[in-house]
C-alpha cells in the first residue's frame, strides 16, 4: 500500500509560517490593575496596531475602516499610521471581502476583516462558514486560513431585529473556527492579539454597548491563550457562567446576592471555541449549582451546549437542574422597553440564582 504521506508534500506557508506567541500563565500576564485607563475600542485598536507594526502581512479591511475611522471609531488614526494599502476601505460587499481575504490568508497574508456588524456577516455566510473553517480540512491539512473576522455583535442599541444579531449561537456550531467574546478592555486586547497570531480562522465578537467601557490596559502587547476562562468573582454557593457583555450583569447580580450571604463563582469564558469546560466543571463540583447566562437565543445555543456538557461530566454533583438565562425566544424587538425585557439583565440573573439556592436550601 502506498500512503499519501509518502508523496513529498509540505504544508503551505500560510500554515507553516505561523508563530504562536509564548503564552504565559494568567498570573504572569501584566497586571489588570493600574491607571492606564483606556476605552474598549482603544484596546482593540492597540492590539491590531501592535501586530501590524510587528508583521507587515497583517492588514485591516472593511467598510468605512479607513477614511471614516470605522463605523464605531475602532480604527481611528490607523489610516494615518499604516496608509491605505494596509487599512483598506472596501466596496460594500461582505461576501466579496471575506472571500477574497480567505484567498489572501491562504497565500500567507494575515487579514483582519471588520464587519460593521456581525448582523451583516450573513451575506458572507459561505465564505466564513463553508470556506474559511474548512479550508484546512478540505485540503487534507495543507491550506491554513489565518484570518480574523471581527465586529459588533449583540443587541441593546435599539437597532431592531435585523441589526441586533448575536451570532455565537449559530456560528459556534461549526468546527474549524475559533471564537472569542471578550467582556472587558483588558481581555479584548489580549485575546485579539492572540487571534491575529492564531493560525486558524478566529471569529472575534465585540459589543457596541461596551466599546466605550474603560479600564486599565497595559501598554505592552500580551497574549491571552484561548480556552482559558477567567474567574471574575469567587464564591461557593452557585456558579455563574457567561461570556461577553452579560458577564457584567452576572457580577452585578453576584454583588447583590453577596449582601444576603450568597456567594457566586462568576466564570467569564472569554472563548467559546475552544471552550474551557474544565473550569466550569471544577466550579460546579464545588458549588453544585449552576446558572448559565447567554445573550443569544436559548434553542441549540451556547448555553445549551455548556449545560449539556455539565450534565455529561458532573451530573452527580448537581443539587439542582442547571438553569439558564437567555434572551427571549423572539426576534430582537425594536421598542426600547421590549428590547430591555428581551435581554438578560442582573435582575433576571439574581432571580435565577435565588431560585436555585432556595430550592436546595
Amino acid at each position: 500500500m502506498t500512503t499519501l504521506e509518502m508523496i513529498d508534500s509540505k504544508i503551505h506557508p500560510a500554515v507553516g509560517e505561523w508563530t504562536l506567541p509564548d503564552f504565559v500563565d494568567e498570573a504572569d500576564l501584566p497586571g489588570r490593575d493600574g491607571d492606564r485607563v483606556i476605552q474598549f475600542r482603544e484596546a482593540i485598536r492597540e492590539a491590531m496596531s501592535h501586530e501590524m507594526r510587528q508583521d507587515e502581512k497583517v492588514f485591516l479591511i472593511g467598510e468605512e475602516v479607513a477614511e471614516y475611522n470605522g463605523a464605531y471609531k475602532i480604527s481611528q488614526g490607523m489610516l494615518d499610521e499604516f496608509g491605505p494599502r494596509r487599512i483598506i476601505d472596501s466596496p460594500i460587499s461582505e461576501n466579496g471581502f471575506a472571500g477574497m481575504c480567505i484567498g489572501a490568508a491562504m497565500y500567507g497574508l494575515r487579514p483582519i476583516v471588520e464587519f460593521m456588524s456581525w448582523s451583516f456577516s450573513f451575506v458572507a455566510a459561505d465564505a466564513i462558514l463553508n470556506n474559511a473553517p474548512k479550508m484546512l480540512y478540505m485540503s487534507g491539512g495543507q491550506w491554513g486560513c489565518p484570518i480574523v473576522f471581527r465586529g459588533n455583535d449583540g443587541a441593546g442599541g435599539q437597532l431592531a431585529s435585523t441589526h441586533s444579531w448575536c451570532v455565537e449561537g449559530l456560528y459556534a456550531n461549526v468546527p474549524g473556527l475559533k471564537m472569542a467574546i471578550p467582556s472587558n478592555p483588558y481581555d479584548a486586547k489580549g485575546l485579539l492579539a492572540t487571534a491575529i497570531r492564531d493560525p486558524d480562522p478566529v471569529f472575534f465578537l465585540e459589543s457596541e454597548r461596551m466599546l466605550g467601557d474603560k479600564a486599565h490596559v497595559p501598554e505592552e502587547q500580551y497574549y491571552i491563550p484561548f480556552g482559558r476562562a477567567r474567574l471574575a468573582r469567587e464564591g461557593e454557593h452557585c456558579t455563574l457562567v457567561s461570556f461577553g457583555r452579560p458577564v457584567h450583569f452576572c457580577v452585578e447580580a453576584a454583588e447583590k446576592l453577596a449582601a444576603d450571604g450568597i456567594e457566586c463563582d462568576v466564570l467569564d469564558m472569554r472563548t467559546i471555541r475552544p471552550l474551557d469546560i474544565d473550569a466550569v466543571i471544577k466550579s460546579v463540583k464545588k458549588t453544585s449549582r449552576v446558572v448559565v447566562v447567554d445573550q443569544s437565543w436559548p434553542f441549540g445555543g451556547v448555553s445549551s451546549e455548556v449545560i449539556t456538557q455539565i450534565c455529561e461530566r458532573c451530573f452527580d454533583y448537581l443539587d439542582h437542574p442547571p438553569v439558564r438565562v437567555n434572551t427571549e425566544d423572539v426576534p430582537t424587538p425594536y421598542a426600547k422597553n421590549l428590547e430591555a425585557a428581551y435581554l438578560p439583565n442582573p435582575t433576571k440573573i439574581e432571580a435565577a440564582v435565588r431560585k436555585v439556592i432556595e430550592a436546595t436550601a
Binding site: 500500500m1 502506498t2 500512503t3 499519501l4 508523496i7 513529498d8 508534500s9 509540505k10 500554515v15 505561523w18 502581512k57 494599502r85 472596501s90 466596496p91 460587499s93 461576501n95 466579496g96 471581502f97 471575506a98 472571500g99 477574497m100 481575504c101 480567505i102 484567498g103 489572501a104 490568508a105 491562504m106 497565500y107 500567507g108 497574508l109 451575506v123 459561505d126 465564505a127 463553508n130 470556506n131 479550508m135 484546512l136 480540512y137 478540505m138 485540503s139 487534507g140 491539512g141 495543507q142 491550506w143 491554513g144 468546527p175 474549524g176 475559533k178 492564531d198 493560525p199 486558524d200 484561548f226 480556552g227 471555541r273 475552544p274 469546560i277 474544565d278 449539556t308 455529561e312 461530566r313
Partner: protein
C-alpha cells in the same frame, strides 16, 4: 450636448483553428508550434481516457460522483500551457483536470479526491493549485485574494487563473470577485468555461446577456470571447491576459465557448433535458477531433501514432487507477486531523476517547485520566 454616448463597447470572438481543423495562419503567428500542439493533443487524449475510466469506476461503485470533462479539454490544456508552471497559481472548480495535470498534479490525486478523500487535494510541493472547489463560484474570490496577496508581497512575474462555469457567473461571488479584482487591479485571469449548461439549466435561461464576456465590461476589465474548443485561441487569449497581468495591467476575463459532451456528473442523465441533435452538432466540434485533423494536415500525426497514443493512455490511466485504489484509506483516528493547525483541548479529548458521543466527552466515565485525554 445633453444626450450623448458615454460608453461604447464591443465583444470580440477569437477563433484560430476552425471546426475543420483549418488554421488561420496570420492569427496563429507566435502561438503554438506543431510540437506543442502534439503535446497538448496527447494531454487531452490521456485526460479523456481518465474521464471515461472515472465514469466506469463510478458506475461500478468504485468511486463517488464524478464530473466529466469530456469536450472541454482544449480549455484546460491551452490555458495551462499559457500559464507558468510552478510559478503561477491555478484556482480550479472541478472541470479542468488536464490543466491540473499539466501543472504537476499527479493524476491519481483527482481520483483519490473523488473517491472521497480530502488528501487528494493536498498538493505536492511545488504544485501551485488550490483544492478543487465545488461550492459554485466561491473560489473566484479566493483567486482574487491570492492574486492580491502576490501583489502585496511584491512577487514578480506571477499570475493567477481561476476556472468556473457559465452558471457560476450568476453567483454574487462572481461579481464580488470581479469588482475586487478590478478595483484592486490584481494579476488574475477569470476563465469562464461556458459549456452551455449548468446541470439542466441552459445558458439562455441562466442569463439574458448575449455573451458571458460582456459581464466583464461592467468592471472595465479587458474581455474576450474565444472558441474554447480551439487550443490556439485558448492559448493566445490566456497568454495575452497573463502578459497583461504580470505587466501590471490588472485582471482579464475570458469567455470560452465550449460544450459539455457528457452528463453534468455521474449523478445526472442529460438525455432527460437535452436535445440529442444539439449534442450531435457539438460532437463534430470535439476539440480532440479538430486538433487531430490539424496535426494530420501538417503531416505530424497519423493512425499509427494515434494507436500508440491510445495504448499509452490506457496504460497510464490503468496505473493511475491502481495507485489511487492502493492508497490506504484514512482511519477514524484521522477524524480530527486537519481541523485546526493545533487541535484544541476539548477536541483532543473527543479524539483521544475516540467517540463523539456524550460518553466520549467524559474522560472520567470511560476511565481515562484527564491528563491523558489531553485536557488540562
Amino acid at each position: 450636448m445633453p444626450h450623448r454616448t458615454v460608453y461604447e463597447a464591443k465583444i470580440e470572438h477569437l477563433q484560430i483553428l476552425d471546426e475543420d481543423g483549418k488554421l488561420d495562419k496570420k492569427l496563429a503567428k507566435d502561438t503554438l508550434t506543431d510540437e506543442q500542439v502534439v503535446h497538448l493533443y496527447e494531454q487531452m487524449r490521456i485526460c479523456r481516457e481518465l474521464d471515461e475510466i472515472a465514469f466506469k469506476l463510478q458506475r461500478s461503485g468504485r468511486m463517488g460522483t464524478y464530473p466529466q470533462n469530456k469536450g472541454q479539454e482544449a480549455n484546460a490544456v491551452g490555458s495551462a500551457l499559457a500559464m507558468k508552471k510552478g510559478v503561477d497559481w491555478l484556482v480550479p472548480a472541478y472541470r479542468e483536470n488536464a490543466a491540473l495535470f499539466m501543472h504537476g498534479l499527479p493524476m491519481h490525486f483527482v481520483l483519490v479526491y473523488w473517491m472521497g478523500d480530502e488528501r487528494g487535494s493536498k498538493m505536492p510541493e511545488g504544485v501551485n493549485i488550490t483544492p478543487l472547489s465545488v461550492p459554485i463560484g466561491t473560489h473566484m474570490l479566493h483567486a482574487t485574494g491570492i492574486a492580491w496577496a502576490t501583489k502585496i508581497r511584491k512577487e514578480k512575474d506571477k499570475a493567477v487563473i481561476t476556472y468556473f462555469g457559465d452558471g457560476a457567473t450568476s453567483e454574487g461571488d462572481f461579481h464580488g470577485a470581479m469588482n475586487f479584482a478590478s478595483t484592486m487591479q490584481v494579476p488574475c485571469i477569470f476563465y469562464c468555461q461556458n459549456n452551455q449548461w449548468a446541470i439542466s439549466v441552459p445558458r439562455e435561461q441562466q442569463m439574458n446577456s448575449q455573451t458571458v464576456a460582456q459581464k466583464a465590461l461592467a468592471y472595465d476589465m479587458p474581455t474576450l470571447q474565444v472558441d474554447g474548443n480551439d487550443v490556439f485561441a485558448v492559448f493566445k487569449a490566456v497568454k495575452d491576459a497573463r502578459k497583461r497581468a504580470v505587466q501590471g495591467g490588472g485582471p482579464s476575463f475570458i469567455e470560452a465557448v465550449t460544450y459539455r459532451l457528457g452528463d453534468h456528473t455521474t449523478a445526472d442523465d442529460a438525455r432527460r433535458y437535452r436535445d440529442q441533435g444539439e449534442v450531435d452538432a457539438w460532437l463534430d466540434k470535439d476539440p480532440l477531433i479538430r486538433t487531430r485533423k490539424y496535426l494530420e494536415s501538417q503531416g505530424v500525426w497519423d493512425d499509427k501514432k494515434q494507436t500508440a497514443l491510445e495504448e499509452r493512455a490506457k496504460k497510464i490511466v490503468a496505473e493511475v487507477v491502481k495507485t489511487a485504489e492502493g492508497i490506504e484509506k484514512p482511519s477514524p483516528a484521522d477524524f480530527f486531523n486537519s481541523m485546526y493547525a493545533e487541535l484544541p483541548a476539548d477536541l483532543r479529548t473527543q479524539r483521544d476517547t475516540m467517540r463523539t458521543s456524550s460518553i466520549g466527552r467524559n474522560p472520567e466515565q470511560i476511565g481515562l485520566k484527564a491528563q491523558a485525554a489531553g485536557t488540562r
